[in-house]
Symmetry: C2
Subunit: 706 residues, 2 copies
């Protein structure tokens, strides 16, 4: 059974509705591109009057076309699109690209038109790319198709590129072409009313000719659908992505710590990370990384050997490599000895290996051999300046020979003057030999860094979130249901405590009381000293109103505290109190969660107090958490040394903390109606952790949630 | 009186010693470059046998040359250089460039040769560039000179570039040429045995044709000389610099907090900052910034208007601009109204202003006018994609017209296909019109960011370090001299306290005691409670050995503490104690200093405890400190909010802390023999600050120190 997107990317015939004989018009460019790119299927320009466009017979309407039409490319005013879609239905068209704008992006009137053509498309089972989009390119020799109005004519290759924005897609396409990176397929889906980036990603995941995928997005209409496809595809091939602009998430003014600290864009980055997608924040770096992914293997480790024929740029390369987490280790004695025998006397034999500017091809060849065979080296960085007095083309051929053995990744910083023919030939030898070439030391280093970062990402421990079988989900659900029936969104203190109990999240011993006598009895049952806290829906910040008394050491103190609050806080109505075990001092921690659309919860972890409020030293992950993910949260804060213990302090029991995070993650997965949750503070001890306060806000269960 | 470097950069005649007729050799390239570049002075190839090289009459020796020789360019084996230098002396040569390597960089034998030719040069008053260097280029039409073996033939322009490393200098030269940025002068000085980067910088500071200066360095032989020239030149024109590689400073394993936290490279960055040099850590960003500095004015403020004809790249530009501290504010009503009247109905009128892809030159012109005339906008960012259906050359001419009014800086992200002639012409119109063009949205944004960062740097408050007239420098010097006479490098506790007293740096009241009785008497005089601390050269970490007792509330406690330490620490010999006022809790602060070569002291400030040890949240500045510099240290730590006070805490008296830093700075300036100094902790209160412990290590006074 053919894939639904085959008609888009591998059409056997294309009709261009709105084809034009006027040069430089969009309707002309689309037809001209089909011709220029060597599309071998049937090409049908549709134009009310013209009989020939770009040397092709033109037809007055779709109906007039003799053969079947797989793909219709529509370039007519938006108001005419619904009618054209109906014609496509009658003709049996399977997919449509709509270049035209004037739909949802311009407001209500456009949205009405978009809904109208989409209803027509659905009626006939037509898939739609766009509207307000560029189109597609497919360089697969069996299907060469260019249904797009851009100018760039890419070489065939192994990188596929999808961009929501045609402007960004267009310049990325051009940038890849400028670097000599071959393209497999391209798509820009504009308004994305039907075919999504997720669906395109899935299609390319199954395309054997696509070695790596580049994505540019400004947000996801359905992050869950994207995440699920991305996780699956990223497990099979590299997916490199960049997200620009602000998320809904970021715009939301969140009331809890978690929300306000998450800020813009954290959620998308976390989706990328959890799905195994390599995220980029710089578009140039993304494009240059793609060049490395197009031809290079992934390094097994971080150890880079730099081979250079000039000193300074290798210093810059070293700085950059080290700063992005790679290593430039000193070479072992055996390699140094081999290099000494092979190279000129002035050569530097450590790492960077400087063969010096007068080195010839044979010096390069021997040095490359040594570095390739050195087991303590994972990747090669070649820093190649082209002096007028050396045979740079012969050197380039040696670099290519080593590169084509494909056993270690290799990048090249080629510093040359391309206004001279002999150096253009040198560059061509390298590029045709699959050597990624860059124009600055740092650019080559960061491209190698991307390969390494991907290696680390791919090797990250993956585990399913732990399922605890000692939890009582049914009771937890009942607690929340009762609150919801009472139209309360913020749970009462005892409800929060019960939720934690159901999931065995450790909380300091507690009891509720509504009088001084009851509080004293509770304190004596729990054991003194205790803390007394009011629980009032009218005072969400109870310590701000003087509703907390700590370290109450005897019955009299408990009684006095209750009476004092009853007096001072009478305006809050009859008071309920939580009496809780007063815990000894420990490392203050904070754990929280907010719901992130349909994608489950965003969990937060940090040290409490100034670490959260002043230093913003917190880490976020998308739930549900596996054990390695929970571990990585502990390692993700700047102050992580405090968890291990410093200055004679004992630190925090890591196992207990990881378990708490995983239990909390399970609670959140089971209870998707939770919108916000805070455990603040959690006290960390050498042998345990214990929450002492919590807050939970619930809402309606989102549709389509996990 | 002619400048000493005129003979190097503006020679009236050049002899090439080691000229060669063999194509692609260095000796041939140098002569060919002189010819190709149109050097108008007398050109004398020197070769033992050849009679003609590159169409020029060749001479067997310097002596055989008929006229005077200003500059000799030497390309012969290192062993022959001292003899050649002697010949230069006899001939009256004023400056020499030595391309040849094989000198100090290869070890002792090479160093001997370098010393030999240098002695000869000094004897004759010859200035030397190199050895092991590339040479110079000067594009000034009156002096066009190319004494260099590289291939790049730069266009004349206003940017001068100096690089220690020829490899880096070479590719930077090429990168500037690739971007179409014109060069004024170039120099790469290799081993830098005589003419330094500082001297070249000074020369270009005085060159009216140099609008901005680029520097690449891997360290300074004489940082003080560099700093003094740089400060002077940077006050007159932009100096953009990058430093790669590790400093001596970084290699030094420092024993105090200050040293170990300063790490590699901080000192050079601090020199740049203090001198008013714009520092870069990415070589590509430096080169692209140079393109903007070559033609653009400095923005008056951070408010950028983005004009685009496609949406997505403007989103990326916005992200980058905002992330580097610029603003993309919403336009005011008046501008929006003018844009609405001028642009197509689908145009976006907020900022970014999207004229949309079908916009023509008139739309661009009108939109640019509006943004240029809007007083709430400081800089223009033009995002220009070249659709096939618009007259992109006409648009380019409108951008140039606005750019040439030079009232606001303008950068252009030009997204086009340069394989097409019409777009190459479009680009040429922009470049010839002085519009800096970049290939990625982020690159254009960061170039604009560099202009803005320079504007901020130039506008920073400058003040002389405050001179306090209530200090007793003579007494402080006597204290140190006494310690040095006793061959002690670490000062005793009372010596440290006396130094602080001399400079009125607040220290908790103190007295020394060598017995329990004396300690009790001191405690009663100071006022209880007190702290008791041993002062022993054998225990530099006195709390680690149990040599500190705090909060001693009465005479008995003081006595007991003395006896306890005398017993436990008997192995340290007869003990001396410092008895000190026990201060109430305050915000823990740490202030420190290490000496940074000849450049004075590197001062450090941070919050104490975990902020230093775990979070490494500290800030460094090169002394001496002005009041604005001391202020900026307080604002330079991540946890700066704690100084202002959070969570009901009172914060720290800013004025007292700034005064303490300035008094400490004066102490250090007056006492250059101090190698390390710590005030740790300083306690900060709402109305004062007070040091409670200090440590000072002294050494010999460095030569040539400020």
């Amino acid at each position: 059974m053919p894939d639904a997107l085959d008609a888009l990317f591998k059409p056997r015939s294309v009709a261009v509705i709105g084809a034009s004989a006027r040069e430089h018009s969009v309707g002309h460019s689309v037809v001209a591109n089909l011709q220029a790119f060597g599309y071998v299927g049937a090409k049908y320009p549709v134009h009310p009057k013209a009989t020939e466009i770009c040397g092709l017979k033109a037809y007055p309407s779709l109906d007039a076309i003799p053969g079947p039409v797989d793909l219709a490319h529509i370039i007519i005013p938006s108001s005419q699109v619904p009618r054209a879609m109906a014609e496509c239905g009658r003709k049996g068209v399977r997919a449509v690209i709509i270049n035209s704008g004037g739909f949802k992006e311009i407001g209500a009137e456009g949205e009405r038109l978009q809904d109208a053509f989409l209803a027509e498309a659905r009626r006939h089972g037509i898939r739609v790319l766009g509207p307000n989009c560029q189109g597609i390119i497919n360089t697969d020799p069996a299907h060469r198709a260019y249904c797009n109005f851009t100018n760039t004519l890419p070489q065939a290759g192994s990188i596929s590129l999808a961009a929501l924005s045609g402007g960004v897609g267009g310049f990325m396409l051009q940038s890849l072409a400028d670097l000599g990176v071959g393209l497999r397929m391209y798509a820009s889906n504009g308004n994305a009313c039907d075919i999504s980036i997720a669906e395109i990603l899935r299609y390319w995941g199954d395309d054997a000719g696509t070695r790596a995928i580049l994505l540019y997005t400004e947000g996801f209409a359905d992050p869950k659908a994207f995440y699920e496809v991305a996780r699956d595809v990223a497990a099979r091939k590299p997916v490199l992505a960049m997200k620009a602009g602000r998320t809904e998430q970021g715009a939301k003014a969140a009331s809890s710590h978690t929300g306000s600290l998450a800020g813009v864009d954290i959620a998308t980055e976390l989706i990328f990370e959890k799905a195994g997608i390599l995220g980029f924040s710089d578009e140039g770096e993304l494009i240059r990384a793609a060049m490395a992914f197009a031809s290079q293997p992934i390094p097994r480790g971080p150890r880079v050997a730099i081979l250079t024929n000039t000193g300074g740029p290798a210093v810059i390369a070293t700085d950059v490599l080290v700063s992005i987490g790679l290593q430039v280790p000193t070479l072992g004695e055996a390699s140094v000895a081999r290099l000494r025998a092979a190279l000129l006397p002035q050569a530097a034999l450590e790492n960077p290996v400087d063969v010096i500017a007068t080195a010839g091809a044979e010096h390069f060849r021997q040095a490359l051999e040594v570095l390739l065979e050195d087991d303590a080296i994972d990747a090669l960085y070649v820093n190649f300046v082209t002096p007028s007095f050396t045979d740079t083309q012969a050197i380039a051929r040696e670099i290519v020979a080593v590169n084509q053995r494909r056993c270690k990744p290799l990048v090249c910083n080629l510093m040359t003057d391309l206004s001279q023919e002999r150096f253009r030939v040198t560059q061509r030898i390298l590029l045709e030999g699959g050597v990624p070439c860059y124009g600055y030391p740092g650019e080559a280093a960061r491209a190698l860094g991307a390969l390494h970062r991907y290696g680390v990402l791919r090797a990250r421990p993956c585990a399913a979130p732990q399922v605890f079988d000692d939890v009582d989900a049914a009771r937890a659900r009942k607690v929340i249901a009762a609150a919801q029936r009472a139209r309360r969104t913020v749970l009462a203190a005892d409800e929060v405590a019960t939720l934690f109990e159901c999931y065995r999240i450790p909380l300091a011993d507690w009891a509720m009381a509504d009088s001084a006598d009851a509080a004293v009895a509770a304190a004596e049952r729990i054991g003194l000293p205790v803390v007394l806290k009011i629980d009032s829906p009218m005072a969400s910040h109870k310590s701000d109103v003087g509703g907390v008394a700590v370290n109450l050491r005897d019955a009299a103190a408990v009684r006095a505290a209750v009476r004092d609050m009853q007096q001072r806080l009478a305006h809050l109505g009859p008071l309920r109190f939580m009496v809780q075990k007063f815990m000894p001092a420990g490392q203050e921690l904070i754990v929280g969660a907010t719901r992130s659309g349909t994608l489950g919860h965003l969990l937060m972890f940090g040290l409490g107090g100034i670490h959260v409020e002043v230093l913003k030293d917190v880490v976020f992950k998308l739930g549900p958490l596996s054990a390695p993910e929970a571990e990585s949260m502990l390692d993700g804060i700047r102050a992580k040394a405090l968890l291990r213990g410093v200055r004679g302090q004992p630190g925090v029991c890591r196992e207990a903390l990881v378990t708490l995070l995983q239990r909390l993650s399970m609670l959140l997965s089971d209870l998707p109606m939770i919108e916000e949750l805070d455990l603040n503070p959690v006290l960390g001890y050498a042998d345990s952790v214990c929450a002492v306060d919590g807050r939970v806000r619930v809402g309606p269960v989102p549709e389509n949630s996990r």
